[in-house]
């Protein structure tokens, strides 16, 4: 026993006695849960089995551990070789065996591998300040109204603060924030067509069909009018997760093939919605591009070095791996034309091994060339608390990037940038919907398709 013990107890009693709850803590916690859900629906599918989240630029985000170990297949570890031309270290093609279709026998291939060690990208996107001087054709919602070029759709009151909006047909599919468990299909006039209980949604590139996961984990395939055309039972995934049962997370839809990641993150199913034929793909396909390429993630549980935490782009038709990227970048979407991938280096839940002395290696926006995996542009700060962070981004055709940017004053503006680095303000800076909850509640909601 030493004299510090009673003094510590007295000290804690004294300081804790100064603390009083003066607001409605329960209400605030419920509101924060709602805000978290809104944010998660926009990233849950993208992060898939990674169980990581894009960190919120001005908020403290929840820590979510990596909960699934996605097997690295039979690939051999890449061997780094120095080359820093593209904002990362590229290795020579490394002899490896691809892990494409689960039923395929392993075939030796040479996989170009990039080690994303934190080297700066060739192009830096710097957010603009000042008044509105730019225009965007990207789809987004602000103040309860959807905008796409000259077209607008007023949203029903219950969807004004949806947080997740997708373009379907001439209308929209919007997350219903009040219950957090359904999406609402609205037509081009803003009238509600149908409410569909769903955990996640993906829309085909032509916007004529969409894929959802039901609350029970089934995959369901719909046309743009909201008519269900097919359903794949959750039990077919042959997976269970921590007693929560199995099922799928929708990953993408190309033509008549729907992709869903099994809940355990180990496999992805390719479901032909016309024949109900199933094919298994090893690994978790987190994103599907319009040309039928898929981003497969296979993070190690406790990576000790950058080379242990990789994602690779595969041709989902042949199973061939086009390239592999290892390092702390979370890719969240393909560009509309499939030529680029958009992601972030500001990721909640990264293990220390992937940090650079406690700091992120990449900033809030990272753009990759989808044909090579090379990092071609980045933007924003590596410190999410600093203004100028890219909060959400959508890369349209022709390399036009539309993004919501968090300013130094905490307000968020809409910006339009080209991949040569120039940006212009396209929507005036606005405050978050709920100032009391620093996470989420963005004033601008960009469509995710």
């Amino acid at each position: 026993m030493n004299t510090t013990d009673p003094r510590l107890k007295d000290l804690f009693d004294e300081h804790s006695g100064r603390v009083h709850v003066v607001g409605d803590l329960a209400e605030r916690a419920i509101a924060r849960d709602r805000a978290n859900r809104r944010r998660e629906v926009t990233t849950a599918v993208a992060v898939g089995a990674l169980a990581l989240a894009v960190a919120v630029p001005i908020g403290w985000n929840s820590l979510r551990p990596v909960t699934h170990q996605v097997p690295a297949g039979t690939s051999t570890a890449p061997t780094p070789a120095p080359s820093t031309q593209t904002g990362a270290t590229a290795t020579n093609p490394t002899p490896s065996t691809s892990s494409g279709s689960a039923s395929d026998s392993a075939t030796p291939t040479a996989i170009p591998t990039i080690i994303a060690s934190g080297d700066p990208a060739p192009v830096q996107l710097t957010p603009a300040t000042g008044s509105v001087t730019g225009q965007t054709n990207a789809g987004y919602v602000v103040d309860g109204v959807f905008h796409e070029g000259d077209r607008t759709i007023p949203l029903p009151d219950e969807l004004r603060r949806s947080g997740h909006v997708l373009r379907v047909g001439d209308g929209l599919l919007a997350f219903k924030p009040a219950d957090g468990r359904s999406y609402v299909l609205v037509d081009s006039s803003g009238a509600i067509v149908k409410e569909i209980p769903a955990g996640g949604v993906r829309v085909a590139p032509d916007r004529q069909h969409f894929l959802i996961s039901t609350l029970g984990g089934d995959l369901a395939y719909y046309d743009a009018t909201g008519t269900k055309l097919g359903q794949l039972d959750a039990s077919t995934c042959e997976c269970t997760t921590d007693g929560a049962g199995g099922g799928y997370i929708p990953a993408g839809l190309v033509g008549t093939t729907a992709y869903g990641v099994a809940m355990d993150g180990r496999t992805t199913v390719a479901w032909d919605v016309t024949t109900d034929q199933l094919e298994r793909i090893k690994g978790s396909v987190s994103l599907v591009g319009p040309a039928g390429t898929g981003l497969v993630t296979w993070p190690g549980r406790t990576p000790q070095k950058l080379e242990d935490w990789c994602q690779e782009l595969r041709d989902l038709g042949t199973g061939a791996t086009l390239w592999r990227l290892c390092g702390p970048i979370l890719l969240t979407s393909f560009s509309e034309d499939g030529t680029h991938l958009v992601g972030t280096g500001v990721i909640d839940g990264l293990p220390d091994a992937l940090l650079d002395d406690g700091k992120f290696r990449y900033p809030s926006l990272v753009v990759l060339d989808a044909s090579t995996g090379e990092i071609v542009a980045e933007g924003g700060s590596r410190d999410p608390a600093v203004g100028g962070s890219f909060v959400t981004a959508h890369l349209g055709e022709g390399g036009v990037l539309t993004a919501q940017v968090n300013g130094t004053d905490g307000l968020r503006s809409l910006q339009v940038c080209s991949l040569d680095g120039s940006c212009a303000v396209a929507g005036e800076a606005k405050p978050l919907w709920t100032a009391d909850i620093p996470e989420g509640n963005d004033p601008y909601v960009l469509t995710t398709n």
Binding site: R18, H20, L25, A26, R32
Partner: protein, 169 residues
Amino acid sequence: MDDAARRADFTEYVRAREQSLARLAYLLTGDRDAAEDLLQNALAKCYRHWDRVRSVEQPDAYVRRIMVNERNSRWRSVLRRRESAGSHVLEILDPPAPAAAVDRAESLDLWRHVQTLPAQQRAVVVLRYYEDLTEAQTAEILGCSVGTVKSHTSRAIAAMRLKMSEAPA
């Protein structure tokens, strides 16, 4: 349990326990904004899993575990926000008038030293000396062994004793 009942049940729990949880959050962080954020995040997670939390676990233990784990995470410093919420749910009163100037100075020194402890050590001393948890209970919340709790406690006490002895009289 439907949504309304779930909400009412959760609200009732929070109102009964909010002072205690708020004080723990403040001792873990030493800062009002950080304590508010930690507390709200922990309770939001608790609400998300309320059906399971209330039926399987002690809600207090669950919330404490979330708060300590989040506080200990390196991410808290990486993602530290520089902005405050629009309005506060916690109020931190000024310290009471000092009984003696020397005592007050020592108390402030000790409080400062507590705040310089590594997160894990600080969590251990708060759980042991404020929450009066046993070493085994503390180990369970921190997800470590009793031996680790012992070593954290001993290092924390030793560090504070050293700093107090080095402080100018």
